[in-house]
């Protein structure tokens, strides 16, 4: 019996509205199971837009297909699955990747900028302008407080010693590059991401 690969199976699912696409495969799985699975998939993603993404977890770099639909003026995420065309994962995902949808649509998201004043025992919800202004003032003050233009030997060093920036393993590369550029622009020397830790 010819084996139906996961790729072919997913391809069939991805065909969306082409409901009878299984026929040419001459019933490889036993038609009932495949048809039932496909129908379930169809109902979920029929008419959906297919968008390409990459898994946000480890660095295997599994390609994802996300299905979205516009409803009530909002883009709704319906489903995420492995991309069968990828030479990296060929459609497969691990438990983390397979549940990526729950990370994408978490109800636990930080809703608004939050602020804790020194010594305070609670968060306060603030607007963006409030926090960005305050942080900008902090950055400037700390830069001015700790900027070294020349070291003790008279070398030009133009460095900000008292601010550190760390992060970025889930940044897009372009965001990471941009962060490096801006932080070096501010004179930062303490720059780090997850490569060491």
């Amino acid at each position: 019996m010819p084996e139906i690969t996961r790729r072919e199976f997913l391809k069939l699912g991805a065909a969306g509205t082409a409901g009878m696409a299984l026929v040419p495969l001459a019933n490889p799985l036993g038609f009932d199971v495949a048809a039932a699975k496909k129908r379930a998939l169809d109902l979920r993603i029929s008419g959906a837009k297919e968008v390409h993404s990459i898994c946000p977890y480890c660095a295997v770099g599994c390609a994802l297909i996300a299905y979205t639909k516009e409803a009530n003026g909002k883009t709704q995420l319906l489903q995420i699955e492995g991309d069968p065309d990828s030479p990296v994962n060929e459609g497969r995902l691990c438990p983390k990747g397979a549940s990526a949808m729950q990370l994408a649509t978490s109800v636990r998201r930080v809703e608004a900028p939050m602020y804790r004043a020194p010594g305070s025992t609670s968060w306060e919800k603030k607007d963006w302008d409030f926090v960005l202004d305050k942080i900008a003032q902090n950055i400037k003050a700390s830069r001015d407080n700790t900027f070294v233009a020349q070291d003790a030997n008279g070398n030009v060093v133009n460095r900000t010693e008292g601010i550190a920036f760390a992060g970025g393993a889930a940044f897009s590369s372009e965001e990471g590059y941009f962060a490096t550029k801006l932080m070096r622009g501010l004179g930062l020397i303490h720059l780090e991401q997850q490569a060491r830790v």
Binding site: V51, H52, S53, I54, Y57, C58, V60, G61, A63, A66, Q76, L77, D83, P84, D85, V88, K96, G97, S99, Q102, L103, A104, R109, V110, A112, M114, R116, P118, G119, T121, L132, K134, A136, N138, K140, D151, N155, V157, N158, E161, I163, A166, G167, G168, F171, S172, S173, E174, E175, G176, K181, L182, L186, L188, I189, H190, L191, E192, Q193, R196
Partner: protein, 825 residues
């Protein structure tokens, strides 16, 4: 990775050290299994690749392995050193490769020595080496024809490898101490098992066999991390496996884009494209290149990186500072900050403890959970003036001020938590472990008030600039000069930034097609030269999607390169150093598994790591490793500050004295932050902490973010440690009991999982078993599980235990080997 995920299916033998791909990179592991199931692969007559897993813990990777070695954590130099010794003693190395493609024949300077665990030049008061003897004997004048600052006199060579001062003879002598008995004494692997592996590895020096070494943070997270990896690379070089499909040294990276953001230098010591950050005292580009660029040390070495160092740096500066970067001001070289000392991860918190760090911005990264020494990190955070956390979900850093046992009212740190977008709410590329830069589309719009991290940073930068304009302040020139040539400088599109990274020809306005065309005269830009070629006038090559649906068309070599799926650096090359996959004449070492080959007029196959039409038979042809000054692989190198050959040193907290040299047990140049800062070291000894601990990740969790994902919390609901059955019996610990694990720095109180996966090791001639305790890292005081288990989650931070000490070279914390005690609660 020198190679890439799909390439692992070409291997005959797979050594896995410091890694657990079946659980930590499960989808990547399919390529290991493919090799195993392929009857044309494998040692001897084939029958499938063999997998050898060396790890203190029996995991699902071990279950799929042909040989599992229960090996003590942090002893991989001893293991690889033993294999190197076996291969050399039995003449099983790839002789032609060793002679022509490595620096085996180079003569090392008189005065270089290794004695009692120390290389020549050690200064015990500064805990540092003077490395002047770690270099080659040279002859004549500096080699002509290379740019200033990138050449030196040619190294003397003895191609017969007989001179006792050749790298080869020194290396053979160095590793002659690593006998199977010594390896066993250090690692705990029985001699017969080690020999079984050595025999398989010994076959891999044949040109028609190839072995890969796969590793992860189980190698890096040690005070000897850099050297653990280098010892594997040495083995691969003498077996002739570097540069070949199915070969190489392959690091499995743990986060979606840790690779891309290392390439783009969110790292204190580099600028994008692995250009070194300038140091104080370098007054101009000449001095910078002289101090930073590799030096041509053989007439046939291209020294491509060194030769182009200045082109890459000037193109970066021109990209960043635009019209303010001119020939007269050395292209604004002074605008780049010049650190005097190491400024990496632990240094940030070390400076905070000293009161010298005022503000920290954390973006998608939590200091508290990561540690090391989470309690000390919490003190550091409490010492800041301000902390900004940009994240989609709360973290143990955003919430540090009201963590268990913290008194919020006494903590003066001003804390901001900014809602950032998720990966799926923005486009841009992720670069996987195999250097494939894969573009993702924006799938859904930002949730609620969330903003992209780079828009937040752009907005902040804009506000800071405004403040400087209004109020003046310290040297604002670099801020004002920084180019922000985007449609909206406060909301740059990632597509615009991707174009900038690639770089352009300022005269024509066209995108650069190759870094080989970058100039040092201010006429070209490149935000990151290793990505030049990724975004052409014709479009963004990282978006390409010609995948496995049509292998005949999309994988013309049949080697799995899939050159039109995404884009890999450099220049879409899929296997780095691939010139070394072919012999001196350009024929593949193994015709069944070619990387590139010379067809008489051009190199075909993968994108060649070599000039595409350079005839290998031309006497002036370049040596194979074009990025090195030597033109060959370095068995001996002065680029590591703790020795030109890897040597086994014990972790800072170890259960035994180093059997090789008890007087110099640990790495003599490992960086002891506390000691250097005048704080007590807080290292434990076996009398109080008799068990070895090692930390790791589970399939179902990713660091800490998945504590917010209900399905995954359901699969792995609460903190635990793995305890070997024999030890549990000894301690009266039953499966599920609550236990306290303590180190000199902190404690964990969690459930015990009693298991056969861990077991005792016999070390250094003693019959008393040494046990490992296994510690998953994922839990803390934030997340679904912590909220549900408030009564028992107070001591769930695994890194409360880990030591505040760093690798000599990379300053990577020693997360993977330390001492603890365990008791039943």
């Amino acid at each position: 990775m020198t190679n890439h995920w799909r390439d692992i299916k070409h291997a005959d033998l797979i050594l896995i050290n410091g890694a657990n791909p079946a659980e930590a990179h499960p989808v990547g592991f399919q390529w290991f299994v493919k090799a195993k199931l392929d009857p044309t692969k494998g040692p001897g007559a084939g029958g499938g690749a063999k997998i050898i897993h060396a790890d203190p813990r029996y995991t699902r990777t071990s279950a799929m392995a042909d040989i599992y070695l229960r090996m003590r954590t942090g002893t991989d130099v001893a293991y690889f050193g033993g294999l190197i010794n076996y291969v050399i003693q039995n003449k099983l190395y790839h002789e032609e490769y060793v002679k022509n493609y490595t620096n085996a024949s180079f003569i090392v300077k008189q005065g270089f020595d290794f004695k009692d665990g120390l290389f020549s030049g050690y200064n015990s008061s500064t805990r540092a080496y003077d490395t002047t003897t770690w270099t080659y004997e040279t002859e004549g004048e500096p080699i002509a024809g290379a740019p200033a600052g990138t050449t030196q006199a040619a190294a003397k060579r003895d191609k017969t490898l007989q001179d006792p001062r050749t790298v080869w003879q020194l290396m053979a002598k160095h590793y002659s101490r690593y006998t199977p008995e010594m390896v066993s004494s250090i690692t705990g692997v029985p001699v017969d098992q080690f020999m079984q592996v050595a025999k398989l590895v010994g076959e891999m020096g044949k040109p028609d066999k190839v072995m890969t070494i796969v590793y992860a943070v189980g190698l890096t997270h040690h005070t000897t991390g850099g050297q653990l990896i280098r010892s594997g690379a040495l083995l691969q070089l003498i077996l002739g496996n570097m540069g070949r499909p199915g070969g190489g040294m392959n690091a499995e990276r743990g986060h979606a884009n840790i690779q891309g953001n290392t390439d783009h230098a969110i790292s204190w010591e580099i600028l994008p494209g692995y250009l070194r950050i300038p140091a104080p005292g370098q007054k101009n580009l000449d001095q910078y290149v002289q101090a930073s660029a590799p030096k041509k040390s053989d007439p046939n070495s291209w020294n491509f990186f060194g030769t182009n160092y200045r082109n890459f740096m000037v193109s970066l500066l021109k990209g960043w500072y635009g019209p303010k970067a001119t020939k007269d001001n050395e292209y604004a070289f002074d605008f780049i900050p010049k650190p005097a000392t190491n400024s990496s991860w632990m240094s940030i918190y070390d400076q905070a403890l000293k009161g010298k760090m005022e503000g920290v911005i954390l973006s998608g990264m939590t200091a508290t959970s990561i540690g090391p020494d989470s309690n000390q990190v919490l003190k550091g955070l409490s010492n800041l003036k301000w902390l900004v956390v940009m994240d989609a979900l709360p973290t143990t850093s955003s919430e540090f001020w009201h963590a268990p046992n913290m008194d919020a009212s006494s903590i003066k740190t001003e804390v901001f938590l900014l809602p950032a977008t998720h990966w799926i709410e923005k486009d841009g590329s992720f670069v996987n472990s195999g250097r494939w830069s894969q573009w993702k589309e924006q799938v859904i719009p930002p949730e609620g008030e969330s903003r992209h991290d780079h828009w937040v940073l752009a907005d902040l930068f804009d506000r800071v600039k405004t403040l400087y304009k209004q109020q003046g302040g310290k040297f604002p020139d670099p801020l004002m000069a920084l180019t922000l040539d985007y449609k909206d400088p406060k909301k740059p599109e990632l597509d615009e930034i991707a174009k900038e990274i690639n770089g352009k020809n300022l005269a024509t306005g066209g995108q650069m097609t190759s870094f080989a065309n970058l100039k040092d005269d201010g006429t070209t830009t490149a935000g990151d030269w290793i990505y030049t070629g990724s975004y052409l006038d014709a479009g963004n090559l990282m978006k390409r999607r010609n995948g496995v649906a049509n292998p005949q068309q999309n994988d013309p070599t049949g080697m799995g390169f899939y050159p039109n799926w995404a884009w890999s650096w450099p220049l879409n090359r899929r296997v780095m150093y691939n010139r070394a996959s072919a012999d001196l004449d350009g024929k593949p070492w193994d015709p069944k598994r070619p990387g590139i080959q010379w067809n008489g007029t051009t190199w075909v196959g993968d994108v060649p790591d070599y000039p595409p039409t350079m005839n290998p038979k031309d006497p002036a042809a370049w040596l194979p490793f074009i990025m090195n000054g030597e033109g060959v692989g370095r068995l001996f190198s002065n680029s590591m500050i703790d020795g030109p050959f890897p040597e086994h040193y014990e972790p800072v907290e170890a259960p035994i004295e180093n059997p090789l040299h008890p007087s110099q047990s640990a790495d003599p140049v490992a960086f002891l932050y506390d000691q250097a800062a005048g704080r007590p070291n807080r290292f434990g000894k076996v009398d109080k902490y008799p068990y070895v601990a090692t930390s790791y990740r589970l399939t179902e969790h990713e660091h800490y973010v998945t504590q917010h994902v209900p399905l995954l919390v359901g699969l792995q609901p609460q903190a635990f440690v793995e305890v070997p059955e024999d030890l549990a019996k000894e301690k009266g610990i039953k499966n599920g009991d609550r236990v306290r694990v303590s180190s000199e720095r902190g404690k964990l109180e969690v459930a015990a999982l009693v298991t056969k996966r861990l077991g005792g090791l016999k070390l250094a001639g003693s019959d008393k078993p040494v046990y490992h305790i296994g510690i998953p890292i994922h839990w803390g005081f934030v997340g679904i599980s912590a909220e549900k288990n408030k009564d028992i989650s107070q001591y769930w931070l695994a890194n409360a235990l880990t030591p505040f000490v760093g690798d000599a070279n990379a300053r990577t914390p020693e997360f993977k080997a330390f001492l603890v005690n365990i008791e039943k609660l």
